[in-house]
């Protein structure tokens, strides 16, 4: 049988199996190999809240989606072209995300009676014709894996854990990828467990060889490298990017980084990553709860560290009182919130954008805090750096909002050099003459930072209202009104120090789609597609939400309609309507998932049709 090779611009594939099937590793390896081969890409891991949900159940399915191509890739893909399903439940859960005519590779061993029952199938979908509109390739992956390892004398548990690499090997063959990258990774990762290295390499190659040898696949695909900007690249998740951005900021500020944090999904990886950067003097403190986490950061900030606290929604709710203290004491502090599904415990492993109003308003009293939002995994690096810059320059807590999708998702990151990053250091106050703790810079309204250890600057700060300049306690009514306004004005002035907003597409037209945060890729893709169809639609993505860039008020009136897609019931739109009195229209789906670009395309069509 001859094998045809088709060249594709972009493909989306999804690995799906039981939580214990190693789908996350499989996906990451495919990603990293594709990245090294020069594709642009975007990924979306998707796993259950339970550590190990009962085997074979729908609730226990873990998936990893990767969208890669030779063109610019902005999202992990709306629908997948290829689905690898390690068992019946994985097939059932993911089928509706597969394009008609798509490829399904199934591990037939995952379709025994028990599997079928757990997945709620009355009969096997492999044999009842229900998959006729797809190209189905049934492979007994488990068996083949066993055979490949027959002579190694491994426990059946270990053998079972290796089968994902058989699937990976087949996919490498199908998409013309080399296995070397993964082989190297195995050698490094399991350096101390040669058996694991050996077995996985064998199985990986067995999968590749099986696809190469056995006559089941008739097509092979070629996805050429993307035309990315020249330079060194690295695949990076949003959480890792935040960690790197913060370390970079500390270095460029000539300060030590201090992180006070309490583990919470999906933010914990930032803590994990930073705890590994001790060679940069990074101090990480796993506190007893979120309140202690932020409190310790406030203490460290008073001492002259670049202080950070990281969390997700329910944790942020606990930090709000202390954020108010940071506002009142005017100490620099970066607060990273990796948003997840709410309210309450909600959907811990799913993504959402519903903490914006909490970040803006969730404190007692008039308590203004700048709010930034990253738009892609690698943008998390730059926005973390930027959050630190603003915190230090303006002596203020700053929120950085990311979300579960950005935090766990990944994309290629053009590695910057230290030299390219701006110096953001600012001398501490040391001169004791005429020192007043709450005297301000004329331009930024920031007070000076005077740290313990500096002779002659001994002073006390706290949560009670401050006397203007002097910083002592004041119950004076006029002073309170003045200070409330000064704190608000300080945050407003940051607008002078951030880039103007740039519209992607024409600067005026029928429709402007405004987004923020992790919906960037989906909106961008949708708008570009509609524009390619000749529609008058543009895209504006807000990375600074408080304060907003100064030109928003000029941009909005240039469009006839404004659409604001958000993964919440309408939060940014509230701010836009209130500030600019525009009758913006919301598009809201709160399903714990990133938008599909086609959903947004549809909504655009709907609105433009009605023009």
């Amino acid at each position: 049988m001859s094998v045809e090779t088709k060249t594709l611009d972009e493909v989306t594939i999804r690995f799906a199996g039981d939580s214990g099937d190693g789908m996350q590793i499989t996906g990451s390896q495919f990603t990293s190999t594709s990245a090294v081969m020069g594709n642009d890409l975007s990924t979306l891991p998707d796993y259950p809240a339970e550590i190990r949900a009962p085997q074979g159940t729908l609730g226990g399915v873990s998936g990893f989606q990767i969208h890669f191509g030779s063109t610019a890739i902005n999202t992990p893909g709306d629908m997948c072209d290829v689905l690898v399903a390690m068992n019946a439940a994985a097939l059932k859960v993911n089928l509706r995300g597969l394009v008609d005519g798509g490829v399904i590779i199934v591990n037939t061993d995952g379709f025994n009676d028990k599997n079928l029952r757990s997945a709620g199938y009355d009969e096997s979908p492999l044999s009842n014709g229900s998959l006729s509109k797809y190209q189905v390739f049934p492979v007994d992956i488990s068996k083949l894996t066993e055979l490949a390892l027959a002579d190694m004398n491994l426990s059946s548990k270990v053998v079972d854990r290796t089968k994902n690499f058989f699937a990976l090997g087949m996919m490498y063959w199908m998409f013309n990828r080399q296995v070397e990258n993964t082989v190297e990774w195995l050698k490094m990762k399991f350096a101390k467990k040669p058996e694991i290295v050996e077995s996985n390499i064998r199985v990986l190659k067995a999968g590749w060889n099986y696809a190469e040898t056995v006559d089941i696949f008739t097509v092979r695909y070629d996805v050429k490298p993307a035309k990315l900007k020249a330079g060194r690249y690295r695949n990076l998740t949003g959480n890792s990017a935040v960690a790197l951005g913060l370390v970079a900021a500390a270095e460029k500020a000539k300060l030590d980084l201090f992180l006070g944090s309490y583990p919470i999904t999906p933010a914990s990886e930032i803590l994990h990553d930073l705890s590994g950067y001790k060679n940069f003097g990074v101090k990480t403190f796993q506190a007893e709860d979120e309140i202690a986490a932020i409190a310790s950061a406030i203490g460290a900030s008073f001492g002259g560290a670049l202080a950070v606290t990281t969390t997700s929604g329910p944790g942020l709710a606990l930090k709000t009182e202390a954020v108010g203290l940071a506002v009142m004491t005017e100490l620099p502090l970066v607060i990273v919130n990796v948003q997840r599904g709410g309210p309450s415990t909600g959907l811990p492993t799913k993504t959402e954008q519903a903490d914006l109003l909490q970040a803006l308003y969730g404190r007692n009293g008039e308590s203004p805090v700048p709010v930034l939002a990253a738009s892609t995994p690698s943008d998390c690096f730059y926005m973390a750096f930027e959050a630190a810059r603003i915190a230090l320059k303006y002596m203020t807590p700053v929120f950085l909002l990311t979300d579960g999708y950005l935090g766990n998702g990944s994309e290629p990151w053009l590695v910057p050099t230290e030299a390219e990053l701006p110096d953001i250091s600012k001398p501490f106050r040391t001169n004791p003459e005429n020192f007043q703790p709450y005297e301000r810079d004329d331009e930024t309204f920031a007070r000076e930072w005077a740290i313990p250890g500096t002779p002659g600057l001994e002073h006390r700060i706290g949560g009670l209202e401050k006397k203007n300049k002097a910083g002592s306690i004041s119950y004076d009514p006029e002073n309170h009104d003045l200070m409330i306004r000064i704190r608000a004005e300080k945050v407003e002035r940051i607008a002078n120090d951030i880039p103007l907003a740039k519209v992607d597409g024409d600067e005026s037209g029928d429709l402007l789609v405004i987004g923020w945060g992790g919906t960037y890729g989906a909106i961008r893709t949708a708008v570009e597609k509609r524009r390619a169809d000749g529609k008058s639609v543009s895209h504006l993505h807000l990375k600074y939400i408080n304060p907003m860039p100064k030109n928003i008020g000029e941009i909005l009136p240039k469009f006839k309609k404004i659409l604001v897609p958000e993964i919440n019931l309408g939060q940014l739109i509230k701010v836009l309507r209130e500030k600019f009195l525009v009758d913006a229209i919301g598009y809201n789906v709160v399903a714990g998932l990133p938008f599909k670009s086609t959903e947004i395309e549809q909504k655009i069509e709907e609105l433009l049709g009605g023009l």
Binding site: R234, L255, G281, A322, P455, E458, G462
Partner: protein
């Protein structure tokens, strides 16, 4: 500690370290009620400070909210008057970031044991090198007189018109149960003892916890008079002194001995017992410390005051710095360029 901080710290010409007490008085007007026990604690703190031989700018007082928590304003050092219950956590972060500083925490029985109880017990087990002074007036002063977690069972207050039904914490026992390294108790009205204990706490490396019985003359006047007033105090208080037998009474005529694990009072004059029968205090024995702490609410026994336990062990902030120093000396100070380019990377031409 970051280059900029290092610069400040190393370039600082530290003020001459020959201080007198009033060098530690800030320019802020002291605003406690006249007669409040807090005044004495402030005075003793200012008095011991010159003996510490630490430049004023290297000292920080961190407090929460409550009458007691106003304390930092009155000390001419660095200070944070923070939010209710969080001083221990804030001070922990400060000390981790800046192990070169001497950091004190000032808190109350509400601030430190009610809302702030969790941070307190975690601080104790971690053993961050802080000195905690807990002003125990057995009442919420600042909010005008509700009962606190140390108020006695049955206490009638604004929020318990028929008497409280909460059993009080025994702060020393709680501290020992939390593995606190240094646990002590003293009294606002015993200035010398208060000074002694504060000094010992300051010198101790690790978390030092000092409970001070403090009279709130507005909302809980006389709560500790039995232990502080001339008529009763000698017979009601036993001072714990390392290596010494537990003797008390106006004429040093009574002592404490153990009956099984239970301390009992014996007379030294009835011919039945001599000083040799008495329990000898030992700051290094944590079981003994617990037995002493458990005497606290036993009306048949004198109230134990002094240092229950002082057992040093490595501090959290010290271990944290150690891990960092070891990493840097082993792997060298990190380079951003290397960090950015670590992991799987690839070149696009």
């Amino acid at each position: 500690m970051g280059k900029l901080v290092d610069d400040v710290v190393t370039q600082a010409e530290h003020a001459s370290v020959k201080y007198v007490a009033k060098d530690f008085a800030s320019d802020q007007e002291v605003r406690w009620c006249p007669g409040c026990g807090d005044y004495s604690i402030l005075a003793q703190m200012q008095r011991i400070m010159p003996d510490m031989n630490i430049p004023r700018e290297k000292i920080v007082f961190v407090s929460g909210i409550g009458c007691s928590s106003r304390f930092p304003y009155y000390m001419n050092t660095y200070g944070i008057h923070s939010i209710h219950g969080r001083a221990t956590a804030i001070a922990s972060g400060l000390k981790m970031a800046r192990p070169d500083l001497m950091v004190w925490v000032i808190t109350g029985d509400g601030d430190g044991l009610s809302i702030g109880g969790n941070h307190m017990i975690h601080l104790m087990r971690r053993n961050v090198d802080l000195n905690v002074v807990m002003f125990n007036n057995q009442i919420y002063g600042l909010t005008k007189g509700q009962y606190s977690p140390t108020s006695e069972f049955g206490k009638v207050t604004k929020s318990t018109p028929q008497g409280s039904i909460d059993y009080p914490f025994n702060p020393a026992a709680l501290a020992l149960g939390s593995s606190c390294a240094f646990v002590a108790r003293t009294l606002d009205r015993e200035p010398k003892h208060l000074q002694y204990v504060l000094k010992r706490a300051a010198e101790f490396k690790g978390t030092s916890y000092v409970e001070v019985y403090q009279n709130c003359n507005v909302f809980n006047d006389g709560a500790f008079f039995q232990f502080t007033e001339k008529e009763t105090k000698d017979d009601s208080v036993v001072y714990l002194e390392h290596g010494k037998p537990l003797v008390f009474g106006k004429n040093k005529d009574k002592g404490i001995k153990l009956d099984g694990f239970s301390p009992v009072v014996v007379s030294l004059t009835d011919g039945m017992h001599s000083i040799n029968d008495l329990l000898i205090h030992n700051e290094k024995d944590s079981t003994l410390a617990f037995i002493m702490a458990n005497m606290t609410y036993n009306a048949a026994l004198p109230r134990p005051v002094g240092i229950f336990q002082a057992i040093e062990r490595p501090t959290y902030d010290g271990e944290m710095s150690k891990q960092i120093d070891a990493t840097i000396s082993k792997r060298g100070r990190g380079s951003l360029d290397k960090l950015f380019a670590s992991g799987d990377t690839w070149m696009i031409q």
